[in-house]
Point group: C2
Chain length 163, copies 2
């Protein structure tokens, strides 16, 4: 027994779960973020198709049950059902198309922040000429059972308000 004691103490010391150092955490987050960026890019390809096809049900399916959509110049839209209704009642005009792209993705376990840029191409309509609106957004995604879903989404336009 006495011979085993130093070995036992060594094992107990060596295998104590070490808390992750800040440096290790930073490296792990960089690694997870790179992988998550690819995943979000793939989701965004579908997301754009849903948006530009006015597929409100599919757009809403990318949000958490209690997700919050924060469009400019109106109050927040709270919950997947209300978000579905919002996209149903505010379809894009025919020929309009969103393009958006993640500029930065930070993922730590099931929580993810995507910062990105969008443009919205609007075709000519009546006396209004064709135009492109650009803007920026932040999305808080959460991984729920292996799927990234939007917990909170906000955007605004770069264009100055013309009074």
């Amino acid at each position: 027994m006495r011979a085993a004691l130093p070995f036992l103490l060594l094992v107990l010391t060596a295998c104590r779960p070490a808390p992750e150092t800040p440096e290790r955490t930073a490296l792990r987050i960089m690694d997870e973020s790179a992988k998550a960026h690819t995943a979000i890019d793939a989701i965004n390809i579908r997301y754009m198709r849903y948006m530009n096809g006015n597929m409100a049900d599919s757009v809403a399916s990318l949000f958490m049950e209690n997700g919050v959509l924060m469009p400019p110049n109106m109050p927040a839209v709270v919950g997947r059902e209300e978000i579905r209704r919002f996209f149903t009642e505010s379809p894009l005009p025919p020929g309009a198309a969103y393009t958006f792209m993640a500029a930065d993705v930070v993922a730590n376990g099931p929580e993810l922040v995507e910062r990105g840029e969008f443009s919205l191409a609007l075709p000519a309509s009546g006396r209004t000429p064709a135009a492109t609106v650009t803007g920026k957004y932040l999305v808080h995604w959460r991984n729920v059972g292996g799927r990234w879903l939007q917990a909170a989404t906000i955007w605004n336009e770069d264009t100055p308000v013309t009074p």
Copy 2:
């Protein structure tokens, strides 16, 4: 030695660092988020004082070196120095005051998302009567050496654009 073997095997099995289960992760994030909410509320009290006092240096000090500020109706402002310049060149009018409040805080290790609501009280000025603008925001905070700093901040107003 033989008598110690089962005990040794037990120790080796018991102390293998178990990966965190999704349930445990969710509970840990809830716990961290509650604590972080208190920390963010305290920062926001200072933040409001800096904003409403037009203390551009102090406001900028709450951002990461490469932080991104995304105000409505203008392009993003990138980097603490540019953010400082932005707040220096766009002071609040005398008597104007922001109030903001975190509605939801989610923290996982050094990454934090704050969703909140703000109001901006504007005093009467010339022919323009006093008004209050409300809106919503999302802030991505990162803990750098024990301090929460803004990595990305975006907001928009609830008020419809009047053409």
